[in-house]
Structures are given as C-alpha cells and as structure tokens.
C-alpha cells in the first residue's frame, strides 16, 4: 500500500554555483526557520533566506573544506568546523569571526547544546591522534551583541574515542547526554559532565559508518543514517532502537519532521561506486518515510548527485537538501503533505 504525498519543488532553488561550487557538507535551519546556513567543500559558509532562497551573506575565513555548521538557539552565534583543523565562532548578524579554536585534526561535526551554553566538536582521527569529542563553553557577551569574542580558550571536556572514531554527535534533551555515531556503525551515549561512556549499541551493520545523527524536536529520540542503507530511530535515554527505515542506497542524511510524523532520508551511490552515473541509477532522491509505520510514502527528485545533507524547518513547513552536485534545494510542503494521514491516525485524532 504505497501512498505518495505531494511536495512541491520550490522553484527558485538557487544556483549556488557561484559560491558553493563544491559539494554541500551540511545545512542547518535556525530556530525560527527563517535562515538557512550551508557549508561546502569550497571553504565558504553561506546564509540564505529560507523563504525565497536569496543569499543573505557569507562567512569567510576558513582555509579548508568546511565540514559542519550549527547555529545557536538564539541565532546569535554560528559555529563551523573545518578541514583546516579549526572551529570558528561567527557573529551571525555581522559575519565577523569572533573566535577560533585550533585542533590537531579536522573537525567533522559541531553542535550546540539545547540551551546554547555548550558546543561540542567531533575531531577526526589522523596523524597519530585519536578521534575526540571536545566540549566548549559558550558565552554570549552582554546580550547586546557586544563582547562576543570573550570565550574560553580550552575545551571544558574531552572525550577520546578509543575503539572507533565518532563521525557525528549531538545533545539529548536538557543536554543530559551526548550521543555519538561511530565509524563502525555503533552509537554511544556519554555523560557530558564526566565524559564517561554510559552505553554503546551496534545500531547499524558493523563497519558501516554512521553519516548523520539528528534529534527529534523534543530531543527524546534521534535518527541515524548509515552507509548500510538504513536509518534508525533510537531512544536517547537507553539507545533502544525504536524504528528502522530501509532504503536501497547508502544514506548520508536523515531528518525528523516536526508537525507531521515523517522522516526524510537522503543518500545515493557515490560517483566512485557506480559505473554509469545517471540520476536514475544513483537514486538521488529525498525519500519520505512514515515515522511510526516505517513505510516509504513519497520521494522528491531534483539533485544530480547524492544528497549529502538534509534539514527540516523547525516548524515542519519546509525542508532543505544539499547535494554532491553543489545545489541547495529548498522545498516547501503543500497541502497534501499535511493532509496525508493513515486511517488509523485519523481515527486516533477523532478520539
């Protein structure tokens, strides 16, 4: 019983070709959903209006591919991590870089805690260094956008990943746990005060890297996307696997939608893994699954390469995807998207 939902392709998806001329690495909506931040392998971080796709500005300074971005809950500070071994903090409004932290290796993921007081940074394992998760305390100056450059010099905590390096990480509700996804397909739960590993679960097939980890709006559960062609919905409190979404292609990103009980998955065969790369062959589509029933309910086409990153508007009215093809595509949902409901859900609603 396959049912498809109508999602209109937002027509003015911008040709990011001018600046984002390399593949996208991460996309992030701010909490209000009016801004989108994107990073790519071309060293530049961009900010866009989500409503029309117009570019608001850029944040330049990184010396290497930018792997990751996150914006503070109050949209004051922007954090980015890069292959130039730094984490930079930017004033969202002015675009100035207010702080740079140096690390021994590239930074693959940054994430603000739910209250914005902490920032975690996942560092790469390389050149004799083990992969780590560093926690930085973040200050917000005087509240009038002044003194934003007053920040702690050293991380308040370092978690070293002895077994398998972390590839992605984030914070659970109340910043109670740090949850990390690893290269070997496992998921760990850490205590952000002590740095102790509380739990480790082999959520995905062994040796199939976890490429993305995103939380639900209430941060009680999260979704992981893995190379093993599946995405899993996992409880933050005990790492129990709640749901599994099976795709036919390696997954790079997964996001949980607010308002409707869906998840959006993105991926595709990497160009090096396919002999003839056609859009059809590579399966470069965003896939919509019903979060609770695990059924695939729709697909949205558009990218010419694998989807590297997906983020959903905090209000659940739109989503953005960034592809290997260098495009950021913003899609606003239509009525059928919101109307779509399983009969049992309708019944539940009537009760």
């Amino acid at each position: 019983m396959k049912e498809k939902i109508g999602v209109t392709s937002f027509p003015s998806h911008h040709r990011a070709a001018l600046l984002q001329e390399r593949s996208l690495t991460q996309i992030k909506f701010n909490k209000d959903g009016d801004l989108i931040f994107s990073t790519s392998k071309d060293k530049v971080v961009c900010a866009w209006w989500s409503a029309n796709g117009e570019r608001l500005g850029t944040y330049s300074g990184h010396q290497g591919a930018v792997w990751t971005v996150d914006v503070s809950p109050n949209t004051v500070l922007l954090a980015t991590g890069s292959a130039d071994n730094t984490v930079r903090l930017w004033n969202v409004k002015t675009g100035e870089c207010v702080k740079t932290w140096d690390f021994p290796t590239a930074v693959k993921r940054v994430a603000f805690s739910p209250d914005g007081s902490k920032l975690l940074a996942v560092t790469e394992k390389r050149m004799g260094f083990l992969g780590t998760i560093a926690v930085l305390d973040i200050a917000y100056g005087d509240g009038e956008l002044n003194n934003l450059n007053v920040q702690a010099e050293e991380p308040s905590l370092r978690i070293t990943c002895e077994d398998s390096k972390a590839t992605v990480a984030g914070w659970s509700y109340l910043g109670k746990y740090i949850i990390a996804g690893h290269e070997d397909g496992s998921v760990s739960q850490y205590d952000p005060k002590t740095g102790d590993q509380l739990e480790n679960v082999q959520a995905h097939e062994f040796d199939h890297q976890i490429n993305d980890l995103q939380f639900s709006p209430d941060r009680t559960y999260f979704i992981t996307a893995s190379k093993d062609k599946s995405a899993k919905l996992i409880s933050a409190s005990n790492l129990a696997i709640l749901k599994t979404y099976v795709a036919d292609t390696p997954l790079n990103s997964a996001s949980i939608t607010a308002k409707k009980d869906y998840v959006i998955l993105g991926g595709g065969q990497a160009a090096m893994d396919v002999t003839t790369t056609s859009a059809r062959q590579g399966k470069f589509e965003a896939r919509f699954y019903h979060k609770i029933f695990e059924d695939e309910i729709g697909r949205v086409r558009g990218h010419f390469g694998p989807l590297n990153t997906i983020d959903v508007h905090p209000a659940g009215t739109a989503y953005a995807s960034g592809g290997e093809d260098g495009y950021v595509r913003i899609h606003h949902f239509d009525k059928p998207y919101f109307d779509f409901m399983y009969e049992v859900e309708r019944e539940q609603l009537r009760k």
Binding site: K2, E3, G6, S9, D32, P73, T220, V344
Partner: protein, 752 residues
C-alpha cells in the same frame, strides 16, 4: 528457459566455490570418501595399471609356450598394443605353464579396454579368457579381502516419499515460482499483489542456475559435482546426476530424461559408482531420470563458428544446445552433425534408428514437431521432424520434412537466394513456419519470406507470405492457435548509434468455416523498438516488449480477441486486435508468463546488468501488481504445471459455468482482501498506540527529571531571551521579499 551459457559470467563459475553444498548423507558421500582413500592407494601402485592378468589359458609345456604367446598376441593386439616381450607366462617346477599370463600394454587406457573387451572371450573351443587388471587381483584377490560367506544385503525399510505433485493441490490454485538472488534460491507461492509466501529458502542451493523440469515436478540445481533434482513438499533431494563440472542441463519434454553437458571431457576415475569408463572423455550424458543412471554418453559436436572477418581472431566455436532434441513422445531423440547428418536414437536403448545416421549433406538445423500430428491419409505411427540445407553449388536450398521411424522424406521445398532459415513449429504441430531470409542477387538488401506448411492438410500444402520487405528478427506462433506475431527490423542508418526501429506485425487466418483460411496481416505497428514476443501459454494474449535495451523498456500487452467493436477492414479475420496497456520496467531482461496465463513477470537480472535488478508482477492485461527491487537478482522461474487431467468435455463444462466459478473466486478474493486489510489495520493500530505510549512515558520521565533538577519549564530555551533577532526588527531595514511561485510538478497516486 535456462540462462544461456554465454550470459553467465566468469564470476558465476568461480563464485563461492569454497562454500560447497554439504554432500554428507547423500549417496555421493561414499564416493568422495573412497575417492580420497584411493588417491592414497593409487600412489602405491603407480605404474601397475598398464598390466592385466589373463586367466583361463591352456596349460602348455615350455616349448609350446612361444606358440601360445604368439596366438594370444593376435587377440591382445586387437585392443591395444603389446609385444612378445611384454607377455610373461610363468612356468612351474614341472616346466609347465600355469594357465595364466601377465601382459603389459602401452597405456593404462589400453589395459582398461582389454579388461572390458576381452574378458569372457573364447580363445578356442575349450578355453575362455578371463582378463583382470593386475591391481584388481591385488585388491580383491588376496585372502581376507573378500568375505567367503555370502551375506544377503539388508533391505531398507519402506519409507513414504513426498508427493511430487503436491503443489497442484493448493486450495486456491496458486502457482509457485523459484527466485534466485544473491546466493539464495527460494521457492514461493504467488499471492498476487500481496507479498509472496515462502516455501523454502536456501543459501548456496545452486552454483550456476536453477531450472524446473518441463512439468514442474523437479527443480534442478547445478554444482561442480553434478546436477541434483529436488521435489516434494519440502523440496528434498530426489535424484543426483554426478556429471563433473556440468554447465548446461536440458530435460526431455516428458521429464523422463536429462541431458547434461560440460566443456571439460569427463575423466572417469576408479570407484565411481555411477559413471563407467564408457563415459570417459565424453562431454554429454543422457540420463534416465527414474534410475539415475546414464543411458549413453557422447562427445559434443560443435557448431561451425561464424567466419572470422579478416584480421580478427577466429570466434569461438559455439556449443550446439540443446545437443539433443526430443520427439514429443520421448520415443526418439536426435542430434545433428552440422553439415553432415542427423542421428536419430531410439529411447531408451539409445541405439541409432536404422543403425546409421541419416546423411543430409549441408544440414544446418532441424526441429521435431512439438506434438504428435496426424497427416491426412497417414494411419501408421509417426513423428515428424523438419530440417533445412543451404544452397550447395548449383543445388537450391531445401526444407524437408521427415517421418520417423521410417526416415522417409515426406515433403520438401526448394528455396533460392537463401541467407538463413529458421523453423518454427506451432505448438500442436499443425503448422510449420519456415522463416526464410533472402538476399537480393547483389546480396545488398535482405528480405524475409514465410513459408507456412499446413501439416494436417492433404499433401501438406505450403502457403507463402512474401509481403514483408524487411528482415524478420523475431517470430512466434500463438500457443494452440493459428495466429502469429513477428517483428521486422528496418535497415539501420549507417553510423548512427541508436538501435534501428522495429515494426510489430500481427497475422491471423481468414475466417473460413472450420479450417483456417489464408494468413493475412491484421495490423502493423511501426516505430517501435520491440524485440521480444511473449505469448500467453493459453493463447489470445501476447506481450511484445523491448528487452536487453539500454534506452527502451516498454511492454505492450495485446489482446487478439478483444470483445468490443471490430475494425471493418479486419472483419474477415479471426482476430480483433486491441492494445490493452503499456508498462515500463527499467532494464528489463526477461519476461515470463505463469503457466496458467494469468500473470506476467518482467525481470531485470544481474547476469545482464547491475542496474535496478528485480522483478515486477503484472496481470495478463498489464496491471502492475507489485514491484520487487531485489539486490543481485538472477532468476525468476514460474513452476510449470503438468497438462490438465480434465477431459475435453469437462473443460467445456467448466468454461460454460465460468460465471458461477468466478463468483465464488471473487467472494474468496474479497474475503482475503478483507482479512489482509484488517490485519494491516490492526498492526498499524498496535504500532501507533505503542508509539504514543512510548512518547507519553518519555515525556513523563523528562518532566520528572526536570523537576528533580529544579529546572524551569523552558529550560531548553536559549539562555538569553534578548537575542539578535529583536535588534534586527528594531532597525527595520531588512525587507524579506517572498516570491510566490507556481507548482512545477505534482505527483498524485490513488491510494490502493
């Protein structure tokens, strides 16, 4: 259809060779064990296998020994080569011979042949030779090796065997299919649009491919050790045919016999329980399925390779497959020695019919009639076969029909300017269509003629359809009918990479009382890319499709007897053509009708390409019931059904009451759908309530924790309420322009 040998990749042969099926507990096991033991033993006796011991000789004094040896040599040299020096006849103390001699042959093969052929042969009136291998004397002749006392072999208790046709007793008359994907083979029940129900699913069930027997009784799996047949409700082992490195398998039409082929000549080793030295060096074995024993083995005749273009490497010779073609009643099988003769064997004794092959100079191909036909005026039993020979010198090309067992040519037809000929029998043997590709005198342009032999009519009249200007690339008779579909290929524009367009033509006979009238073109659909014709096994419906193509994947579902208004121009023809539906299946490589003609499966096999492999199920009218993308999908095979047991009258009765039956079935279907839907809904209800309960519990825990920490309700909100956004608005200088756009694309699908 079995995958043709050339479509199997190298990988298929070598893949998973280590992970062999477990043969323990099979009749092959002792063979393998013994085989190992023997290897060890043979080493000790190396060099002795050219010796034989001849017993039963006359006892002679020393001086006449010479004479006896010479006399004996005459016999011995009829088999192999040996000399006086190589014969040792020991003498006892009394100077008399002992009545036996040791003989050394040049090669072990000669020694073996001598044992086989000279044992029991009389030397003179009084003496009979007893020839044994020296090694055998060593092995069995020593005391204690063989027990003196006779023990009667123990009779195994009778074991009830599984019913080989139990799948026919399915209450819902469902069909089964075999699915080979990755390294697993499974057998499933077809459940229409619902997921198929698994019967068995086994990893490494086969090494190359699987194949059903023609009536569906057995499933054959192919291993380096040989072929195994499986059957019964649990698909247990039924038979084994140890043909080492077997590559191709073919059943006879009534499942009585099995032909196996390997490119490697068989090397028979000692102790093999089933293969004998008869099979040594052969490529083909014809097996009796019932007994599991070889009937006879053959060296394969390769087909002449197409002539190599100048400067190119000579293309490889093609293996002739099926090597043996069977008459419809399995009483005869025949094979062709290309360009020379057709050898017809009587089954099951496998003797050449009439003791010689039928010499047919230049013979290029032959086909048996797929059913027994009676020609008018012929009362004796006969099977018919058709063959053709190309133009040789000034002799015209010829198509001929031979009656077996008389081996008489009963009908011939001469043809000119022939490039190629294909023989197509109609399934009941009522017609043979001979497709003749002709070249013009200059050999520049090609055209096709159809010469249709009406076998049942008096004198076997031939009707010629020569209205085709292009070459016919595919032709297919309607099963049990008198209509056919063909596909013609227009000349490809030179230097263009696009595949040439094809045209599909439908032919039907004119209505003329009880007999079929002349064949007339019903309609031609051109500008197609189609290349495959797939008739429903029950006739009437036909799928015309483009397979193995990089760019086109369409399947057209045609009805030849549309129950609607008929085209005025076609009113005299026994057909009313209607295109029911066209569907696409990306990368489709194979199409198979189920044996009842209710469903069609189109599939894309990894043997051809690795893009979107899997199989789709359609109804006969082209409604797609399910799509099943399957990683490393290889084969989809419907299980054939044996012919119906109902008599003609009973079938008529069924057809008459179809309406009532269909009412019952509709009811059943509705019920099944209801049940399935209820199950789905129940399942969803459960999942949903579980989810909601989980969420509620999680929220409670969170609230509790928050209270325990003494945090406010909005603890997760930003630390500083005063944020940058407020500042923005105060300045009021940012204008966000929103452009409302039209919908570009909208997909809607009816919820099914």
């Amino acid at each position: 259809m079995a995958p043709s040998f050339d479509t199997l990749t190298e990988q298929d042969f070598h893949e998973e060779e280590e992970e062999e099926i477990d043969f323990s507990g099979t009749p092959w096991e002792p063979y393998f064990l013994r085989h190992l033991k023997e290897q060890y033993e043979v080493k000790l006796e190396e060099g002795l296998d050219t010796f034989v011991v001849i017993d039963g000789l006359p006892v002679v004094p020393e001086d006449s020994r010479q004479k006896l040896v010479k006399f004996l040599l005459r016999k011995l040299n009829t088999i192999g080569h040996t000399s006086e020096d190589a014969v040792f006849m020991p003498l006892n103390d009394k100077g008399m011979s002992e009545g036996f001699a040791f003989v050394e042959y040049e090669t072990p093969e000669q020694a073996l042949a001598a044992v086989k052929q000279l044992h029991g042969v009389p030397l003179d009136k009084k003496h009979t030779l007893a020839v044994n291998k020296l090694m055998d004397i060593e092995r069995y002749g020593r005391e204690g090796r063989i027990e003196e006392e006779y023990h009667a072999p123990e009779l195994e208790p009778f074991k009830e065997k599984e019913h080989l046709r139990c799948w026919m007793a399915d209450a819902h008359a469902r069909d089964q299919f075999a699915l080979y994907r990755n390294d697993k083979v499974g057998v499933f029940w077809n459940n229409k649009s619902n997921p198929p129900e698994n019967v068995v699913d086994r990893a490494h069930w086969t090494q190359l491919f699987v194949q059903w027997s023609p009536k569906g009784t057995f499933l054959a799996s192919v291993h380096p050790q040989g072929v195994q047949l499986w059957g019964g409700a649990s698909f247990s082992k039924q038979k084994q045919f140890p043909h080492p490195f077997v590559q191709l398998v073919e059943f006879s039409p009534l499942e009585g016999y099995l032909t196996t082929w390997s490119s490697r000549p068989i090397q028979v080793e000692e102790g093999q329980p089933i293969l004998t030295f008869e099979e040594d060096g052969k490529n083909i074995i014809v097996w009796d399925i019932e007994s599991g024993k070889p009937l006879r083995s053959f060296v394969s005749h390769d087909l002449a390779a197409p002539a190599a273009a100048e400067g190119e490497v000579q293309p490889k010779k093609k293996v002739q497959w099926p090597a043996f073609k069977w008459s419809a009643d399995e009483k005869y099988c025949a094979r062709m020695h290309q360009g020379q003769s057709i050898s017809i064997y009587e089954v099951p004794n496998m003797n050449l019919l009439g003791r010689t092959s039928v010499k047919v100079e230049g013979v290029n191909d032959f086909e048996w009639s797929p059913a027994a036909v009676t020609r008018e005026g012929v009362k004796t039993y006969e099977q018919l076969l058709c063959f053709w020979t190309p133009e040789i010198g000034s002799n015209p090309a010829r198509v001929a029909m031979m009656s077996v067992p008389s081996r008489e040519i009963v009908r011939t037809r001469n043809l000119f300017n022939v490039s190629d000929v294909k023989i197509h029998w109609q399934s009941q043997g009522a017609y043979v269509c001979v497709k003749v590709d002709r070249h013009s005198k200059s050999k520049k342009s090609m055209a096709t003629n159809l010469e249709i032999f009406r076998v049942r009519e008096k004198g076997v009249p031939v009707e010629v359809v020569d209205s085709l200007k292009d070459t016919v690339i595919n032709f297919s008779w309607e099963p049990n009918g008198s209509r056919f579909v063909l596909i013609t290929n227009s000349e490809a524009p030179a230097g263009v990479a696009v595949p040439p367009k094809t045209a599909v033509s439908f032919f039907a006979p004119e209505k003329k009382g009880n007999t079929a009238g002349n064949f007339k073109l019903v309609r031609t659909v051109d500008k197609k890319t189609s290349n495959g014709i797939y008739w429903s096994p029950k006739g009437r419906f036909v799928v015309v499709a483009t397979v193995h193509s990089q760019s086109n994947f369409d399947l057209d579902f045609w009805d030849m007897d549309f129950e609607g208004e008929k085209n005025e121009a076609e009113k005299d023809l026994a057909a009313n053509l209607q295109l029911m539906k066209t569907v696409e299946h990306y990368g489709v490589t194979d199409i198979e009708w189920d044996p009842t003609g209710r469903y069609v499966v189109s599939s894309a096999s990894v043997w051809t390409h690795s893009m979107e492999n899997g199989w789709n199920l359609h109804t006969f009218s082209g409604n797609t019931l399910s799509e099943n993308p399957t990683e490393k999908f290889k084969q989809f095979l419907w299980r054939p059904r044996p012919p119906t047991l109902l008599s003609k009258e009973e079938q008529k009765q069924v057809r008459k009451n179809l309406r009532e039956y269909s009412k019952e079935f509709d009811e059943e279907d509705r019920y099944a759908v209801d049940i399935a839907n209820t199950a789905v809904v129940e399942q969803r209800k459960r999942v949903l309530s579980e989810w909601l309960a989980w969420l509620r519990r999680e929220m409670e825990i969170q609230t509790e924790e928050r209270e325990a920490f003494g945090l406010p309700e909005d603890a997760d909100s930003p630390k500083l309420a005063k944020d940058a956004r407020a500042g923005n608005q105060q300045e009021g200088d940012t204008i966000v322009e929103e452009i409302v756009e039209e919908i570009i694309e909208e997909t809607e699908e009816v919820i099914g």
